[in-house]
């Protein structure tokens, strides 16, 4: 759905946005965090290739940490940040200064871990959605993210995404203390919001979107 130029521009934009989030997180946890979004895609969920490892999180069975943030007004949709539970635990440990790269098999996500992850996702999703709003010069309203631990099975990737038609997928990587924690950000947008976004990108590229 995105051509190469649009994809490049969008990737650059979101990397600037998450860079700001990374600075904020670094200040909070008092250690250097780098956030990377190497790849941005605008896809319809039915187009996802199940063999594409980057989408394993949807098709593998296991526990997932999911944070979701609803936003609305002129630019509308819902943003999700998802990690396999194990990656979420590593990230929480790192933020709390418990530098363990491996975690025991029967690990638990404690209340404090969930609070840390809620804040991390809040900072990250706010940065992305807020900056999209600035970029589009549109008024936004959004609330605190909801967080939950869910058990994903092979059959319910569609439920995870609540049947949104087109989604922006940001493959996300947190680098801190030599650990690379991989997660995924999904931004489900209404069709009109997608058009607004593409129009603005095309205007910026000087190409004009039909």
């Amino acid at each position: 759905m995105l051509n190469e130029l649009q994809k490049d521009l969008l990737t650059e934009l979101v990397n600037v946005y998450v860079g700001q989030a990374a600075n904020m997180l670094s200040e909070i946890v008092d250690r250097h965090i780098v956030l990377n979004i190497p790849d941005v895609e605008l896809i319809s969920f039915s187009d996802v290739d199940r063999k594409d490892r980057r989408y394993n999180i949807f098709f593998n069975e296991g526990h997932l940490f999911r944070s979701s943030l609803q936003f609305g007004y002129e630019f509308q949709g819902k943003a999700f940040l998802m990690f396999p539970a194990e990656q979420a635990k590593i990230l929480a440990n790192m933020c709390l200064g418990e530098l363990t790269e491996t975690i025991p098999e029967n690990f638990r996500l404690m209340d404090t871990d969930l609070d840390v992850l809620k804040e991390v996702s809040n900072v990250l999703l706010n940065a992305i959605i807020g900056e999209f709003g600035n970029f589009l010069e549109l008024k936004l309203e959004y609330v605190l993210p909801d967080i939950e631990l869910i058990h994903g099975t092979h059959s319910d990737p569609e439920i995870l995404l609540q049947n949104e038609v087109y989604v922006l997928v940001l493959h996300t990587s947190f680098l801190l203390a030599e650990t690379d924690v991989k997660g995924i950000i999904i931004i489900a947008l209404s069709m009109s919001s997608i058009s607004i976004l593409l129009d603005k990108i095309d205007a910026l590229l000087g190409a004009g979107h039909e």
């Binding site: 871990d113 609070d115 959004y142």
Partner: protein, 323 residues
């Protein structure tokens, strides 16, 4: 209704305060009064940074600006921030943990930030204690597992040479025989004894004797294929279990073992010459039972000893075929 609302604000079990765009406090609820000892009357109208010095940090000012100017909601966890509002004087500020929610509010053309403070001190203490307990249990479990592994190793190995002991050898022999039966393959059981080891102990002492045994174990290990097994039964007695392509191969291995002892041992400045006697029994030629095969190999070894030591021989029902 307004009266009910103000009662609710007074009694709510969370801290609630509202600031305007100039960060002037416009609401300060009962929880904050109780926690800080500062009454609403003395706080309202003051700048938040004067009332709550923690908000002087640029991080928190950014959070408030984002709520006031960009409508952003924000959650800050006690695990990362500890506390935002300090207690009344005389209380230890370091023990308190608080979560903070910042939400934008709008009235007519003005925007405000609602700051909600939830006390997390007890939750954090509970989680901290639970984490410590889990850590202790993990350490305990690792120690137990390690000591169980160690006991298992000790129960199956000879302490001096580190070789498997009689128990481990018997176990492996029984397993190898049943495996060989299924695959129609051949085995050799070798009984090896050092010639004149008692003399080594008597002449050089037990410390040197122990070092000789360790050196013997090393030479055995280096000589036999890695798939075969050497064990120490006790004293200067060793057994070897070899997997064979044919019976003749047992002789080849025995020759190699013999050759491995052609050079003297150099221990604590002493040059010690030591030969070995090897008795061999074969599976399936001589039997199917582990004890039977060991007994025949032992008999073959004694025949070698009787006939002048330093050699190897295969068990024969009537006599030992010597080489």
């Amino acid at each position: 209704m307004n009266n009910l609302l103000s009662q609710a604000l007074k009694k709510a079990n969370i801290g609630m305060l509202i600031v305007d765009r100039q960060l002037k406090v416009v609401l300060w609820n009962g929880w904050l009064e109780r926690f800080t000892g500062k009454n609403a009357e003395e706080v309202i109208g003051l700048n938040l940074l004067e009332v709550c010095p923690r908000f002087k940090s640029s991080m928190y000012q950014n959070i408030l600006q984002n709520a006031l100017y960009h409508g952003q909601s924000r959650f800050c966890s006690s695990a990362l921030h500890k506390a935002f509002i300090l207690p009344r004087e005389g209380e230890d500020e370091y023990i308190f943990r608080q979560n903070m929610h910042v939400e934008p509010l709008y009235l007519e053309d003005h925007s405000y930030a609602l700051i909600q403070i939830t006390d997390m001190t007890n939750t954090n203490t509970r989680v901290y204690k639970l984490k410590n307990l889990i850590k202790e249990l993990e350490t305990e479990y690792t120690t137990i597992k390690k000591s169980a592994r160690m006991s298992k190793h000790l129960s199956l190995h000879d302490v001096l040479t580190g070789l498997p002991n009689r128990l481990a050898y018997n176990d492996r022999l029984a397993w190898s025989i049943s495996n060989a039966q299924r695959h129609d393959s051949k085995l050799a059981v070798m009984f090896v004894d050092a010639d004149g080891f008692k003399q080594v102990n008597d002449t050089y002492g037990h410390d040197v004797g122990d070092q000789v045994l360790m050196e013997m174990a090393k030479r055995f290990r280096e000589t036999i294929p890695s798939t075969d097994m050497v064990a120490r039964l006790g004293g200067d007695e060793f057994t070897i279990l070899s997997h064979l392509q044919n019976d003749q191969e047992a002789i080849t291995i025995a020759k190699k073992l013999d050759a491995a002892f052609s050079t003297h041992f150099k221990i604590a400045g002493n040059h010690i010459n030591l030969s070995i006697s090897i008795g061999i029994s074969l599976f399936p030629t001589h039997g199917q039972e582990p004890s039977e095969l060991l007994r025949y190999a032992d008999q073959a070894m004694y025949t070698i000893k009787k006939n002048g030591k330093n050699g190897y021989g295969i068990y024969e029902p009537e006599h030992v075929e010597e080489f």
